[in-house]
């Protein structure tokens, strides 16, 4: 009888525990609902998120205790890992393949670096320089950095070692063709983005760089979009030169610039994430990245089709702006490149979305859907609520680790949150099976 009672109790306990934490469905669908109330679901979610962060934190403490980099000239500087959501809303650590919803980067604490320095050099630096989001999040591989005024000889200087290394590795047969094609592509990007330098900064959020991925064939051919047979990749970053002496009265933006200005204007919905309150300990929004594609008509669009993303545009918030946004006639819609299939057509019809640029050239059919900017702004407000959940949870966990009074070797300093943009302009957290079009980068203040 006693054993039976014990089993009943165990059963009840295990039954109680066998509940997985899920995000609200409104987070991962096209809903405009931004109410994130204190509920049992949110409290379970908070516990599950904290459990993942605590496990990661303990794992790093274990690694640091192992002293694997003691008295070495190289050291483990940071560790990045990712969390994801499946379609029912369960959150977890990302394994195997799939899209992540939150990326976290733990960086070595200055105290820990100083300790390693003392062990190796007998002394330590008074201040350890912090890394920027760019430095911490940029991927691996070669990068070519250009702006509108980068000369051909400067481009040649940058691509020279890359072309040589690719040729020596046997990945490209014709290096002169590769050099020529790369230069041509870089010049093309310069022309495409040139008028951005002249654009006054009418909105606090403004473009600070573009990032493109170039895909290289063994023949030396270069493509903006990955194709079969392209194994070598090269990243190109274009930086805006902010010109001071511009006649703002006669500025007439191109259609591409207008689209980017409209997006930048809508990002003011996220100001509270960037600004916070003075002196607040928090994760502040540092950069917003949007995935870009090109329509069949050569227009810059937001890309929601995996194989059609050719790069990304990065926005940062500035303190001062130029007056005059009201003189520009910004579009009411946002062009989004999506697959042309029955599901999307039904969605477009139900939401009265305009469409164009139907591209049947690559075997896949895509169209440009014109999303409602009002819905986009509502989606951004929803993103603010979701971001508050992820960032506050991380901050709480950091505080708990610090409160333990133990030596801390790694701090969670950078959070990357990935969002899915729906064809109508709505926004949700990306799921493991989805594709992220908008990324938010947060740094700890």
């Amino acid at each position: 009888m006693k054993i039976k009672n014990l089993l009943v109790m165990m059963g009840l306990i295990f039954s109680f525990q066998a509940i997985s934490a899920t995000v609200p469905q409104s987070w991962i669908n096209d809903s405009d609902d931004i109410s994130i109330e204190k509920s049992e679901q949110m409290s379970e979610l908070e516990t599950a998120y904290d459990n993942i962060l605590e496990t990661k934190g303990d794992m790093l403490d274990d690694v640091a205790k192992g002293r694997s980099d003691q008295r070495r000239r190289w050291y483990l500087q940071s560790i990045a890992s990712e969390l994801t959501i499946e379609k029912k809303g369960t959150i977890g650590v990302l394994g195997l393949k799939g899209e992540s919803v939150v990326g976290v980067i733990w960086q070595r604490t200055p105290e820990s670096v100083q300790k390693l320095q003392k062990e190796l050099y007998g002394t330590s630096s008074p201040v350890i320089a912090e890394k920027s989001v760019d430095e911490e999040t940029e991927g691996n591989g070669d990068v070519v950095k250009i702006n509108s005024e980068t000369t051909k000889s400067e481009m040649e200087r940058q691509i020279g070692p890359i072309v040589e290394a690719t040729f020596v590795a046997g990945k490209v047969k014709d290096k002169s063709k590769l050099r020529e094609k790369l230069l041509s592509k870089l010049a093309e990007y310069q022309t495409l983005l040139k008028d951005l330098d002249n654009a006054p900064q009418y909105t606090p959020w403004w473009i600070y760089k573009f990032q493109f991925q170039l895909n290289i064939e063994a023949s030396g051919a270069v493509h903006a979009i990955a194709e079969v047979g392209t194994e070598v990749r090269l990243r190109v970053e274009w930086y805006r030169i902010q010109k001071k002496s511009q006649d703002k009265g006669i500025f007439s933006p191109s259609e591409n610039v207008k689209v980017l200005m409209a997006m930048a204007s809508d990002f003011s919905q996220m100001d509270e994430l960037a600004l916070g309150r003075n002196g607040d300990k928090r994760f502040a929004l540092d950069t917003i990245k949007v995935a870009l594609g090109m329509s069949a008509k050569g227009k810059i669009v937001v890309a929601t089709v995996k194989g059609k993303v050719f790069g990304g545009v990065f926005f940062k918030r500035q303190k001062t702006v130029d007056k005059g946004l009201d003189t520009i006639d910004l579009p009411e819609t946002l062009p989004i490149l999506g697959e042309l299939n029955a599901e999307n057509l039904k969605y477009a019809k139900a939401n009265n979305l305009k469409m164009d640029s139907i591209d049947k050239s690559a075997g896949i059919t895509e169209a440009v859907y014109y999303a409602n900017r009002d819905k986009f702004r509502k989606g951004l407000k929803k993103a603010v609520k979701m971001a508050n959940f992820w960032t506050r949870g991380a901050l709480k966990r950091q505080d708990k680790r610090r409160a333990r009074g133990k030596e801390i070797h790694f701090d969670l300093n950078v959070i990357e949150m990935e969002l899915e943009l729906y064809l109508g302009g709505g926004i949700g957290a990306v799921t493991v099976e989805g594709i992220a079009e908008v990324e938010l980068f947060f740094v700890r203040k």
Binding site: K4, L7, V8, M9, M10, G11, L12, F14, S15, Q17, A18, I19, S20, A48, N51, I52, T55, D58, M59, D62, V63, G66, S68, D69, R72, R73, W74, Y75, L76, Q77, S78, I79, A80, S81, E82, T84, I85, E86, K87, T90, I91, G92, V93, L94, G95, L96, K97, G98, V113, L116, Q117, L120, Y121, T123, S125, I128, N140, T431, V432, E433
Partner: protein, 122 residues
């Protein structure tokens, strides 16, 4: 009576479920690992926190030890300055499903190694 029966059944299921990974959590601290299967569909499996911690910490320490040791000994050409080495790591957890098939999920991390700044050099 009804509650007792379900309690006994749940306890037995929980005991059966005490192998490395499950498709539902048996404890509030179990760690969910989510990935895409061959068919592109999401898979969720739960690993006991302790097991995950033990395995990941062990592998990370070993990789860190070997990487810093190799990098310390490595000499580069004069024309190159190596500033960062990034090591992507996937730890394989195998999930036995009643000995019928084995499923793999790989929680991934990215380790970044850098030269320790020399305080004696300005």
């Amino acid at each position: 009576m009804f509650i007792k029966r379900w309690g006994v059944l749940a306890a037995l299921l929980a005991l059966i479920g005490c192998h490395p990974g499950h498709d539902s959590p048996t404890s509030s601290t179990d760690l969910p690992i989510i990935g895409l299967g061959e068919d592109g569909k999401a898979i969720v499996r739960y690993v006991p926190r302790g097991k995950h911690l033990q395995k990941m910490s062990g592998v990370l320490s070993e990789i860190s030890e070997k990487s810093t040791k190799s990098l310390d000994r490595f000499e580069f050409d004069e024309g190159f300055k190596l500033t960062r080495v990034s090591v992507g790591l996937q730890v394989v957890f195998e999930f036995d499903v009643f000995d019928i098939y084995v499923m793999e999920l790989k929680p991934a991390v990215d380790l970044r190694f850098e030269p320790l700044p020399n305080p004696n050099k300005v």
